[in-house]
Structure formats: C-alpha cells, structure tokens
C-alpha cells in the first residue's frame, strides 16, 4: 500500500505541474473580452482547479497513516511496458516499412519476447496476422494502409 501512496504523491505532483502549465498558458490569452469570455477563460478555470485538487491529493496521501508495504508486480509491469514499447516502435516504423511489415514484426515480437514462444511460432503468427489484415482491410475494405518500399 505504501507503494500506492507514493504513486499518489507522484501523480499529484505531475498533475499539479500540468494544471500550473494550463493556467499559466491560459492566463496569457484573453480571459474576458467585450464579446464575452475569451479563449483563456475556461482553461484557466480548470487549470486552477487541477492544481488545487492535485495539492489536495498529495496532502491527503501524506497525512494518511501509511499501511504496510505491498509487493509490486515488477515482472508484470516490465512485460506490459515491453509490449507497449514494441507497439510504439512498430507504430513509429510503419511510416517507412509499411503496415504489413510493421504489424508482422510487432506480432512476432509479442509472441516471442512477451509470451516466450519460439521464433518459428512468432514468424508464423506475424506473417498470418499481417496477411489477414492486409487482405481484409487493404484489399476487401479499401482502407488506405501505409505501404513500405516493397509496395505493401
């Protein structure tokens, strides 16, 4: 639970920073004009509220009694974040290598590295899933997926 409490402090600080940024930017725009509220009016309101609520979250967390610590799921988070990194990397690379190759690589990486299956299975799942998606979305439904240097 202590880990959770620390997380609340971290989240509170991050959100207070975001709220402060929002309020600071909004204060630089028109707040009230002759025609009514300006573009800074609404963001200033929720930015200030965000700072206040974040401070409340941090204070509440620090003032609460801290229960015993619980074990964090480090391996689980590592697995999830590795998967996310593969997803983000493939999404980024698709503009150069195209959807089919990017998606095949993503599927293979998830199968091999996240689920610990062999390369053969990874290659089979990657090729099959990318092929099915290309057939259904590109060929049958006409969705314009990005193409790589090899034309698909």
């Amino acid at each position: 639970m202590a880990r959770r409490l620390d997380r609340d402090v971290l989240a509170g600080i991050a959100l207070a920073g975001l709220g402060g940024y929002v309020a600071w930017r909004a204060a630089g725009w028109d707040l009230l004009t002759e025609d009514g509220p300006g573009p800074g009016f609404f963001p200033l309101g929720y930015g200030v509220l965000m700072v206040a609520l974040s401070a409340l979250l941090v204070l509440r967390t620090l003032l609460q009694p801290r229960p015993d610590a619980e074990n964090g799921d480090v391996a689980g988070h590592a697995r999830a974040l590795a998967t996310w990194a593969a997803f983000a990397g493939a999404a980024f690379a698709m503009q150069w290598i195209g959807f089919v190759a990017g998606f095949a690589l993503l599927s293979a990486v998830v199968v091999v590295f996240v689920f610990g299956r062999g390369w053969a299975r990874g290659a089979a799942v990657g090729a099959a899933s990318a092929g099915v998606f290309w057939l259904v979305f590109e060929r049958l439904m006409g969705v314009g997926l990005p193409a790589g240097p090899w034309g698909f």
Partner: protein, 501 residues
C-alpha cells in the same frame, strides 16, 4: 399514438435489407469482440468504429448500436466459462455463472444469460421509447445556462458514482477537459496547447483517445496480470443450452428485477452497468428464499445481473439521445460517432433527424431479437474464440487499433498519439485513476465550454446567470450536493462510530 406512428416509421427504416444486414453484422462483431477478456463495450465500440466510417449515418449508427448491445452479450460468455469478467458489469455474473459451468450447467447458464439479456434489454428499449419524447420536449426549453448546469450535474454524478476516489475521478475529468481544449478555439481561432505543432491545430480525434485508453491499455493490463484463458467446455447441441423449466421459473423475479434496476440505474450518468448488476444481484439475494445458495451456482444469480447489465443500455440511451449527455465511456463514444456523422443528439434530434432517431430505436428492438436468436445456437462458436491463444489475440487487437488510427487520417502522428494514450490508460489504471471520467470530459468539454461562454455572453459577463434561472440553479445545487455527499457520508459514519465507542 404519435410515438407509435414514429416508431412504425423507424421500423420501416430499420427493416430495410441493408440496415438489417448492418444490425446483424454489428451484433455479431460486437459479440465476438465482447467475448474477448479485458475488452468491455467501450473498447469494443472504439475498436470497431472505423468499420462504419464509410457508411451512411443511419446504417452506421444502427451497426454501432448492434456492436454496443452485442458487446454486452459477449461479456457474459467470458464470465461464465472463464471466471474472468470481460468488464466490471460482468463481475457478479462470475459468482454463480462460473459455478453453474463447473457443475456442468454452463450451457444453461449461458442460455439464462441470453434470455435475461433479451427480456431486460427489451424492457429497457420499451421504456426508452416511452420516455424519450416527453424528456426531449421538456429539454427544448433549455438554453445555454441549463445545458451547462446539466453537464455539470451529469459529470458530478460520473465522478462520484464511477470511481473509488472522488479527487482522482475529478482530476481525470479535468485532464479530459484539457485534452479537448488542444487545437483551435472555435470562437476566436486562437491556437491552444498545440506546442507549435500544426498537426495539433485540428485537435485530437476522440477515437485515438478512446482506443488508446480502453483497448490498448486493456491489453497491456491483461498482459501484466497474465490472464489465462482456459475455458470450461460448452455443449454443442441447442437443447443442452436451454435452461430447464424449473430454472426459468426460478428466474421469474430476477428477469423483472434486472429489468427495472438496470433501466433506472442506466438513466443516471456515471452509475453504469456495473452498479446496476451489483444492485440487482443484491436485491435478488435479499428477496430470495434461499440466499445462502447464492454464489454456489443458482440461475437467479446469473439472470438478475445479466438482465440489469442489458436493461442499463436502454437507460443510458435516454440522456444520450434526448439531452446529448452520455452517462459513461460507451455512450460517450457513441455520442462522438453520431457527431462525426453530422447527427447532433439532444432534444432536437427527434425533429431534425427522425429517421435516424426512430430507426435507431427500432433497430434496438430488432437487434435484441437477433442477439437472442444468434446467441443461443452460436454460443459454442463464440466460446471457441476463448480457445485462441492470447499471444495470437492480443496482436490482433493491436492490429485493429492501428487500422482504426489509419481510418482517422494517414498522419503517422496519430499512431504515436495512440501509443501515448495507451500508455496513459495503463498508467491511470495502475495509479487508481478511472479512465471513464477522462473520456467524458474529452467528449463533453467542447460543449461545456461553449455553453458557459454563451451563457456569460448572454449576461454580459455576469456569472449570476447560471444561478438566477430556476432550472439551472436547481441542477447546480444538485451537482454540489452530489459532490459533497461522499464527505457528508464519511462525517456521518465517523459520528456513528464515535457514538458506538
């Protein structure tokens, strides 16, 4: 009588072969994706939304409604056969549904879930049909201050009822409001929070936010939790899927209970089907002659929550279609989809787009029948999806999300935003922040800002306009009451504890 005539016209629209096909396809796809563990209705709608982009508004909305209802049906299969709730509203179904499956009555449990969903879902649609016209007529008298107050009230209910921490839910809502401010201000053309990027001038597409927050984050969370999918067997013959007469008789009250509780809770913004299913289960257990058997595999324990889960959908459509206010993540995505098609949900929808409004309601009736007819014989097929290894399923979900992002535009920045929102959704879950208030803030943010700015323009900058008009004042007072109610409750509990000591 007028309502019946309008509904008749709606059936004329919904029964067109093309629309029937879209409804069937929506129900089928919604059920298939809804069966997947970790993907609730909101993620399902967001993932499948791009499939409807090329369609005409009526067909697209009919298909989306089918997806929404189908996803709710699909969730029960995962709960009963895997003991993994596909979404929060299916948690209670696990209690008795999985126990029935372990006793070899999995087919009957799935059959009861389908029948309860049909009965309660139809009740919810009938109530929606009867209530929508008078509510929309009443809402015609609303002006900007009333709309602002209504949105504040709705969002207050969402943050209080939707999460365990009021502060965190409010903060999630505010982040949603900020995200929707990114782009060009519609009143003054001032660019806001674009960080100098021309890509952000047009704002962030809601689909990118919804798919990232719900679908990508859902898969990441399933991978973290390493959810195993070892499904219990399902009989293949229809006769074995049908509950016995005694089981159906035992569920009589559960069907009614689930229908009424589900609809009433569904109308309330933020309460959602999870609360509806818990309340219906609690009521059923309280009035039962054998409450001690609940949790050991009684059919009423499946019928009541599954009924409430589906009647909730009809209830949630009431504020969405008549006021333009979504009550949860799924209806927020539906609202955005309607806006994309140029249909503006609210009191004028019935007069401005009657074919869409009544066509949608008629298609809900048709979809409900389709789902019952489809679910009983096809449950073994849907259950087979659970046998597909997760290392195949999860990349497929990633693929659907990526195709959806390309459907929005071919700008690669959208893909990076999608990944970013996926990470944000995952971090939010780990830190205990509910994602539903964020998506609601994102969807309603523009309308809320417009309403408050128009109100203050009307009053020449005097904020008293928000509390001088009776209806607006009542709604804002109710919102304040809703927001302080957890504090009052805590104080009362402390006082009671003090007295007890």
């Amino acid at each position: 009588m007028e309502t019946l005539a309008a509904l008749g016209q709606g059936f004329a629209v919904a029964l067109q072969p093309e629309n029937l096909l879209w409804c069937l396809l929506g129900c089928f796809l919604g059920t298939i994706v809804g069966v997947l563990p970790g993907l609730g209705p909101a993620a399902t709608i967001a993932l499948l939304l791009p499939l409807t982009f090329g369609m005409d508004p009526t067909g697209g909305i009919i298909m989306l409604a089918g997806i929404y209802f189908g996803a709710k049906y699909g969730g029960s299969t995962t709960s009963i056969l895997l003991n993994i709730p596909g979404e929060a509203s299916s948690v209670v179904t696990c209690l008795d549904g999985y126990q029935m499956a372990r006793k070899g009555r999995g087919g009957a449990a799935l059959g009861i879930a389908a029948i309860a969903s049909f009965v309660a879902g139809t009740f919810g649609i009938v109530a929606l049909t009867l209530l929508a016209p008078p509510i929309a007529e009443f809402a015609l008298s609303f002006s900007s201050p009333e709309y602002f107050a209504l949105m504040v009230l709705g969002l207050s209910l969402v943050v209080v009822l939707g999460g365990s921490s009021l502060i965190k839910a409010l903060l999630a809502l505010l982040v949603g409001l900020w995200l929707t401010s990114i782009g060009t201000d519609l009143f003054t053309s001032q660019s806001r929070f674009t960080f100098g990027s021309s890509f952000l001038l047009g704002g962030i597409d809601f689909m990118i936010v919804a798919v990232g927050l719900f679908a990508i984050a859902g898969v990441l969370e399933s991978i973290r939790a390493r959810e195993e999918t070892t499904a219990l067997p399902v009989p293949n013959r229809l006769r074995e899927l049908m509950p016995s007469w005694a089981e159906l008789k035992a569920c009589r009250f559960a069907f009614l209970n689930g229908s009424v509780v589900g609809f009433i809770v569904g109308v309330l913004p933020g309460a959602g089907s999870a609360i509806a299913s818990f309340i219906a289960y609690g009521v059923e257990k309280t009035v039962s002659r054998h409450p001690e058997k609940f949790g050991t595999g009684v059919p009423e324990g499946v019928a009541a929550p599954e009924g409430a889960n589906n009647a909730d959908s009809g209830g949630a459509m009431v504020p969405l279609l008549t006021l333009g206010i979504p009550g949860g993540g799924s209806t927020a995505i539906l609202l955005s989809a309607l806006i994309v098609w140029g249909v503006k949900p609210g009191p004028l929808m019935m007069t401005e787009s009657p074919e869409v409004f009544w066509g949608l309601i008629a298609s809900l009736y048709i979809g409900s029948v389709m789902l019952l007819v489809m679910n009983l014989p096809l449950v073994p097929l849907f259950a087979q999806i659970l046998r597909i290894p997760v290392y195949v399923l999860f990349p497929l979900i990633f693929g659907l999300a990526l195709v959806g992002a390309f459907g929005v535009s071919d700008n690669p920045m959208n893909l990076l935003l999608l990944a970013g929102f996926g990470l944000l959704g995952y971090v939010m879950v780990q830190f205990g922040f509910p994602p539903a208030p964020l998506i609601l803030g994102f969807v309603l943010g523009d309308a809320m800002e417009r309403a408050v700015r128009q109100s203050l323009t009307m009053s020449l900058g005097d904020p008293a306009i928000l509390v001088e008009r009776p209806l607006s004042a009542v709604m804002l007072a109710l919102a304040a009451l809703v927001l302080v109610s957890p504090l009052i409750g805590r104080l009362l509990r402390r006082r009671r504890a003090g007295v007890a000591v």
